[in-house]
Every structure is written in C-alpha cells, then in structure tokens.
C-alpha cells in the first residue's frame, strides 16, 4: 500500500494516577492503519486495548491520566491538537464504539436523539432529516420497528440493542476511521454477521478504516487485514492476520489461538468438557478431560419455570396512556435440575435477560409460576426472598452498571458473604481474594474501584461476587462475553469445577455458540420471547429443527483467515418486533417432540 496511513500510533504510553503514583498500563504501542484497512487488536483481558483506543481519542480523564507518544491522524498529531480542534476530529473523522453500551448511553435522552445528534452536528442535517436517517440507521443495525423505538430510552433496550445503538451512532457520520471496542459481544451470531457486513459495506463505499478490538478470533479472522496482539500492556506481536494465525511467534499468541473453542468439537462427547489450559509462556495446550455427569435427573428440578410471561407497557402521548406492550417473555416453561447447565441462546432482544430478571424477581412477571427448590418464588415474602437469593444468583449482563461505583471490588465481593452470615469478615475477605485469583485477577485488586478495571476484569468481579455465596443456581447473563479466550477458558473451567464439586445449576445465557456447546447439558433457543426449540445439547446442535436454530448455528464465525471477506448478503429478511398493540391476542403454541427431551415449536 503506497498510501500514507490514516492512523499512525507511535510509542504510545498511557499511565494512570493510582493511589498517588503514576502507573503505566499501556507501553510502547506502535501501529499504522491504512486507508480502507481493518486492523484488529486482540489480547488478554486487561491488557490495555480499551485504554489504547481511548488514548487515541483523548477521552481519558485528564486529571488522572497521562498520554505520551504520538498519534498521527492523516499526519496530524492528535495529542498536540487543541481541545477545539479535537472536536472536529471526534465523531466526524474518527468515531468510536465503546465497550460498555449501558453506561455509555445517556439515560435521560431518547435513543433517537442520541443518534441524530451526530447527524445534526456533523452532517448539518435538519431535525426531520436526522430523524429519518436515524430510523434508517436503526433498521440497518437490525433494530426492529426503528421508527417506534426512536423515542425509547436506553433502559428500555436489551444489552445487544444498546450495543447496536452505539454502532449506529458511530457509523452515522460515516467517519474516516472507526474505532470499535468489542462492538459485537452482546450480539447473537446472526446479527453479529449482519453488523460485520454492514461495516464491510461502509468500508468499501467510503474507504473507511477500522480499528477493531475483539476477543472473538472468528471475527478477527473474518474481517481483519492485520492483527495486533497485546499482552500485559504491551504490543507483543503485529502482522498480517494470516501470519498471526498460522505463524504466531509469541507464546501468548499461540496460547490464544490454540485455546479458541471451535463449534463442533464436541461431537462425540456426552458431558460438558473443560477447556484446554494453555500455558501463556509456552503456548502449549493440555487436552482436557470430560467432566463427570452431574445432572440430578429424576429428582425434582431445582428451578422450574412454568408459563412465565413478562411484558412491559408501551406508553405514549402526553398522559402516558398505555398503547401496547413489549412481549419480552411469553409463556416460557422449562426445568433446570441440580448440577445441570441449561443454555439460553437467541437473538439479541429476544428476552433472555428479562427471563433471568424475572426469575430473580427483579422485574415482576406478568404471569406464570417459578419454583425454586420447591418454593414458589412469586409468593415469597421479604425474608423468604432474601433466603431465596442466597441460593440463586444472577450475574448481570452489564457488569459495570451492576457494581456500586463507590465500593471497592473486594468489598463488593465480600459483602454478600458477610451479610448472609456465612463467615467472619476476615473469612469473607479471604474468600474474596481467593475468588479473585480463581477468576484470573489478583488479590491486590481488591482495593480498586469498578471504574479502574477493564471491561473483562469487571465481568470477572461480577462472577466472583455471584460465586461468593455458593448458590445452588446461577443465572449467568453473557458472563464470559468480554473475556479473551484464555481467560474465558479459565473462567468456564472454574464454573465447571464448581458444578462438579457443588452440584451447581446454571442458566447460561450466551451468544457464543462454541462456549454454549462446550458448557451445556441442554440448550433452549429463544425467539421473540418464546422458546422455539429446547433439548439436549447434542440433539440441538447436531439436529437443529427450527429455522432460527439452523440459521444461528450456520452463522457462527469460524476462526479461519481464509474466510476473510465472506459476505452473507445483507439481510433482507423482515425484522420482527416483540412490541404488540394493546389487546393483542397471544396465539397458543404447539410443540413437537423430535427425540427424547428435544422439543420444537411447530405453530
């Protein structure tokens, strides 16, 4: 490529003021991004990927951070621009997708307004034009019924929908350079594919360059021209994606690639299987053994959900009259046995998180019954609820907003343990330290506050917190999505170990089909609030019946650089929305039993 690079980062070094001392978290990072090129940054969770991208945009808190080195955008050094000049760069020449979509959206402005703001600001559009364009953008990022949801607020959107809002926002101004920090972690593979296609189209049409941060090696393989590997704050390797994939030299690179779970690798196994543990210094992997059967079939299910329905009112007009409802969860039934992992997969926005939250009674279900350990959860009183919550825990999809910003990580983890009187304060702190180590963090991080962690680190804190109570059931909502493969393997193995030793049951919500395949005993596929297919893992993966299940499995990206540039053909299928008008009659559903325990919705 003869062109000058769009972005050239030279010797970037970023430090934070921690406890009164400067601590560097990114050191000596240098790379170029050419016009129209896609560069991926991969690396360990907490290795400085997000900080690098924020440094480029100069978006770090000015008082507590320091950036050295050079960031050249089309030859101009961004680090020496005035704040005013920087404004013309941000959102216009370079736009950015942040890792955590919930806290990155302003809670009191409508989704539509936050997107169209970019258009009125940088593209000089009028309000109406911007509105129309925003609706188009929402459709493009596959948010159904974009026109109607223009006036919704972020908290009314599911995790993946918020992420897509961020994407729409970043793409709105058709920037020269897009920095995308894990933009698809919360998306199911079908939508992820469509979003990747959308990016590729824009790249072709506008010559946009992309700096793409991700943990999903399949995605890297699919879109990245070149790949940079980061490890412990340093750039350890960079090169063409094929080279990295096939001839990665650094042990961490090799470790990373050999740990990538592949769909279909479970073909002949009956039980969930531990991930191979890869030594990051040598890159050697140890092939894991299958775990023993833990499922307490035959006994009464530990969690039993019957005809669960949760709807949200849709209001409009001056007096906020209810005009319809979001049928987030509709007539859902399933059982979960001790020691079992039931995975919940499905399209983004199909009601997975709402299911979890309904079980926890964090939202009040509209209808249905939930039995936990024999107790009817929906009829528990205050004290009953508290005890119930000792035995069922939820790991939230958005770890950042679910951690108290004024509580250190250690306190957050230790607190439930202390409050449920499971031990002394000292024991609690020891347990917290132990759990931190087990999820791959260090005990010395106990005194840090949530905002001082990376996205993946926060996610692990949330996991540690849920584990601190030794619950019987864990609802894990996208709990490993922000982890790099090696850490993901470690955490998944931890969960499996706990299932072994404590007979834990998991309701495992995830978009990562490879992980789902590896972790689960049974799989339930959700679509528009309903379960469309449920059955033993092998049955669902090897013999998918429902159209949506088939589509989902087909869409899983494969970490093979040879597949680069594939195109799914932009989705022309109609977007379905769970928003129903007032008085909508829910059709009754019928299921067909394909094989033992394998049910599929037929009508």
């Amino acid at each position: 490529m003869a062109d000058a690079p769009v972005l050239s980062v030279q010797n970037l070094k970023t430090s934070f003021l921690v406890d009164g001392a400067w601590k560097s978290v990114v050191r000596d990072v240098s790379f170029d991004v050419m016009p129209g090129e896609t560069v991926a940054i991969v690396g360990e969770s907490g290795s400085g990927k997000s900080v690098t991208s924020l440094s480029i945009m100069r978006l770090l808190h000015a008082d507590s951070s320091r950036i050295d080195g050079k960031v050249l955008l089309n030859g101009r050094d961004l680090l020496s621009l005035t704040e005013k000049e920087m404004r013309g760069v941000r959102g216009n020449e370079v736009s950015m997708i942040f890792q955590e979509p919930m806290t990155s959206l302003n809670p009191i402005f409508t989704i539509g307004r936050q997107i169209s703001e970019v258009l009125t600001r940088h593209k000089g559009m009028s309000k109406q034009e911007a509105r129309a364009e925003t609706t188009r953008l929402l459709e493009k990022v596959r948010i159904p019924n974009g026109k109607a949801r223009f006036d919704d607020y972020p908290h009314q959107f599911s995790g993946g929908m918020r992420q897509r809002v961020m994407i729409a926002m970043a793409l709105a101004s058709r920037p020269k350079l897009l920095i995308a920090d894990e933009p698809t972690t919360a998306l199911d593979v079908t939508i992820q594919g469509q979003i990747l296609d959308l990016i590729k189209v824009l790249q072709e049409e506008e010559g946009m360059s992309v700096l793409f941060i991700t943990h999903d090696m399949g995605v890297v393989a699919e879109i990245a021209d070149r790949t940079i590997v980061m490890y412990r704050g340093e750039q350890v390797e960079a090169g063409a994606t094929e080279d990295i994939f096939l001839r990665g030299r650094h042990p961490y690179t090799r470790a990373l690639l050999s740990a990538v779970p592949k769909l279909g690798s479970m073909a002949n196994r009956r039980w969930p299987t531990r991930f191979p543990i890869v030594d990051a210094t040598t890159g050697e992997a140890v092939e894991p053994e299958e775990v023993a059967d833990t499922v307490g079939k035959g006994k009464t299910p530990i969690l039993s959900v019957k005809n669960l329905t949760t709807r949200f009112a849709v209001r409009s007009g001056l007096f906020a009259r209810q005009t319809g409802s979001v049928h987030a969860v509709e007539n859902l039934s399933f059982d979960l046995f001790q020691g079992e992992t039931l995975s919940l997969v499905g399209e983004s926005g199909c009601g997975k998180s709402t299911t979890g939250r309904s079980i926890m009674r964090l939202v009040e279900p509209t209808d249905g019954e939930i039995y936990l350990d024999g107790y009817n959860v929906l009829q528990l009183d205050q004290i009953g609820m508290r005890n119930m919550r000792k035995s069922v825990q939820m790991i939230f999809q958005d770890p950042f907003s679910s951690l108290n910003p004024r509580m250190t990580a250690g306190a957050s983890i230790a607190e439930p343990f202390i409050k449920h009187k499971l031990g002394t304060t000292r024991e609690a702190r020891e347990k917290a330290a132990d759990l931190l180590e087990r999820v791959g963090l260090s005990a010395s991080m106990m005194n840090r506050y949530p905002h001082e962690f990376s996205g993946g680190q926060r996610q692990r804190i949330a996991i540690a917190r849920a584990l601190s109570l030794d619950p019987k059931v864990i609802v894990a909502d996208e709990s490993v999505s922000a982890l790099d493969v090696s850490v993901k393997a470690q955490v998944c193995n931890l969960l499996l170990d706990l299932q072994q030793s404590l007979n834990l049951a998991f309701l495992f919500i995830s978009h990562d089909m490879a992980v789902v395949e590896r972790m689960s005993h049974r799989v339930a596929v959700m679509y528009l609030g309903e379960i469309v297919e449920i059955g033993p893992r092998a049955a669902v993966f090897e013999n998918p019946q429902h159209d949506y299940t088939k589509k989902l499995i087909a869409a899983v990206p494969v970490p093979d650089p040879a597949r680069r540039g594939i195109r799914r053909g932009l989705a022309d299928d109609e977007l379905k929305s769970p928003v129903r008008p007032f008085g909508y009659e829910v059709p009754s559903r019928r299921y067909r039993e394909v094989s033992a325990g394998h049910l599929v919705q037929v009508a």
Binding site: E83, F98, N106, I108, F109, R315
Partner: protein, 315 residues
Amino acid sequence: MPVYIGKRLLVAIPTLIIISIFVFSLQKLLPGDPVLAMAGEERDPATLEFLREKYRLNDPVIMQYFYWLGGVVTGDFGISLRTNQPVLELIGDKLPVTIQLAVMAMIFALVIGIPMGILAAVWKNSWIDYLANLVALSGLSVPNFWLGIMLILLVSVNLGWLPASGYESIFVDPVRSIQTMIMPAFVLGTALAAQLMRHTRSSMLGILSADYIRTARAKGLSPWEVIMSHTFRNALLPIVTMIALLFGELLAGAVLTEQIFTIPGFGKLIVDAVFTRDYAVVQGVVLCTAVGFILMNLIADVLYVLLNPRLRATL
C-alpha cells in the same frame, strides 16, 4: 399521571387538616394572651372580656378549632383581631405581593446561581471556580439587612436610581412595581443563588465524570452541547427539588427583606400576626403557605419524574 396528580391533591386535604391542627395546638401552647397583646396600653378589663367573647377565646379549644374549621369550609377564615379585616381579604391583599417578590427573587437566583454553578463545575479548581464560590458564599453569609441597607444607601440615596422602599401593585403601575421590587428581590435572591450555585456545581461534577459524557464528547459535540444538554439536563434532578424547597426559604427570608424595603407582603403579615397573637391570621397564612408548599412539591415531584425516564413508569 393525571391520576397521580389527582391522588396527590386528594391527600393534600388531610395534610392541610393535620397542619391546621398542628398550628392550632401550638398556638394554644404559646404564652401571651391575644387580647392582651392587642390591647397594648389600653387594658380595660370589660373590653378585654368582650373581645374574648367576641372571638370565642373563652370556648374550649376543641370548639374553637371546629368553629374555625367550619368557617374555613364555607370560605370564612375569620377576621383579624388586630385590624378587624377578614383574613381572606388580608391574604388576598398580600398574596400577589409575595408571589411577585418570590418570583422575581427566584428569577434572580436562577439567573445568577445556575450559570455560576455550571461555570464553576466546568472549570473546577480554576480561578473561575474559586471566584464563583466566593461570590456565592458571600451572598449566603452577608446578612440580608446589611445588603439591603447598603443597596438602599448606594442605589437610592446616592445614585437615585430606584425608589428606596415601598410598594406599588403590578396591576396599577407595572413599571414602578418592578422598580420597587428589584432591590428586595435581589437581596432575597442572593442567598438562594448561593445555594443553587453550590448544588448545581456539585450535581454537574457528579455527572461530568459519567461514561455517557465521554460518549457525548466522542461524538464531537461542542463543550456547550456537552455541558448544557448532556450534563446539565442530568444534573437538574437535585436542583429541581432544591428550587421547590427554596420557595419555602423565600417566605422565611422575606420577613426581613419585606421589613427593610417596607413591602406589604406575607412575611410581614405573619410576623406581625404571630407577635400580636392574631391567630386567625396565623392560621390563614399558614394554610395558604402550606397549599403553596404542597403545590411546589407536587410540581417538583412531577418534574422530577418527567426528567427521569426510568421513573416515568411509576407515575
């Protein structure tokens, strides 16, 4: 929401009754005999007794209360012991004055306090911040009488720009009415401005470090947009509550200001009424201010919910 507002207005009735019982019983506990207080130097026992009878002060307290309540229900708030005027008429006279003063003072407070708070937050720990804080806090610590008298001496006596005191109804002579109210409103507004400034600053600071402000900056919005629409709108929540509460403080602070600038408003009315134990007036005024508070708080609560989409479902 209309249901919510309606419900709130309904609970206002018991609230008002509780308040009136409260005031009534406290009055009975106060030392000092209304008739004696009113008589001043003319203390003819027969007249005093006549007045006690006339105003039913010899009846049992409970009876007095129900008698009063019965009157209120029919729109009769009794008559002032001191001036023989119907209380409702007195309130009708003073209320517009007080409202005008309060509104003008609030305008001053908002116009001074909020921008200062925003500037101070945005330029935290710079000289702008320090200056804004100094100005605001001196506005809070400088006693109203001092500021009032200094203003009168400077603006009226030395410069002759504004009338030193007095009042003109806004319906009779709007220009003069505004002129006479400028200084008192300013004096009254300074302390409020200080409080608004401090709250705005603190609230803004909390929001400025939020992630979504980073998003707004990443969009390349101008500082003005980031600050005004993204930060300030979010920061407004505690300020809205504060503004409603400050109206209460306005009434309390108005006493001294009204005294200095000789404005015939509520503050002076109630103080005189309390000091002369003119209980019918006290009750009437308290009830009237209570209605004011209830309305202000209701408005604040509704605004609060409207400003916070997550709470909207609760209405």
